[in-house]
Symmetry: C2
């Protein structure tokens, strides 16, 4: 399955999805699938979040809290759920705030090992 | 009700709770209630997370994504759920990874306006 197929499956499964992406911590996306205009500059946001996730990863390692597995950032306009795939890449799903958050977390948990397998 | 009473109520309500805290974005806690040894340096972690949340707040504002309401950071050893109270303070609950995450989110959502009222 291509990255695109995984990303499409993800947004189709979760009500209120806006976009999904396989992103590098360097802010460069391998692929992004956008289904709705989120009302914010999504690509700029993902770059910024990638940067912050990368800081978090370092902090958790320094504090011996173990690997960061999941980070959720909810703002007034957008919910984002990110799951770490490898030390270089993460999978992210953006939802409208009223979207199905629980299903989004679940769908990401299921999709992450499959997308990770494509990276290797 | 004192900050401490709110923090105690929070950890008593949520299975798997490790600690709760009212923290400033400057990394200084108003009050922290710890019920279990989390196996990580919790106070260092909260300072670090506060720093990262503060960056996130700025990024979301710059990207016009609206106010950050909630941030969840899950590592192998600890789940943390943070809710913004004011531009200066946030409320945070730390749980064991197997703790009741959904109830933690719910309990924080209910507690946040009450704790916020004490700040004003």
């Amino acid at each position: 399955m291509s990255f695109r197929a995984h990303l499409e499956q993800l947004v189709n499964q979760v009500e209120g999805s806006v976009a999904s992406s396989v992103m590098g911590f360097d802010g460069i996306a391998i692929d992004t699938h956008t289904v709705q205009e989120p009302g914010v500059d999504l690509s700029a946001m993902l770059v910024e979040y990638g940067h912050i996730l990368s800081k978090l990863k370092e902090a958790a390692a320094a504090l011996e809290a173990g690997t960061v597995s999941e980070v959720v950032i909810n703002t007034e306009k957008l919910s984002t759920i990110a799951r770490l795939l490898t030390p270089e890449y993460f999978l992210v799903l953006a939802l409208r705030p009223e979207g199905n958050f629980g299903k989004g977390r679940y769908a990401l948990r299921i999709a992450a090992p499959r997308v990770k397998a494509e990276l290797e």
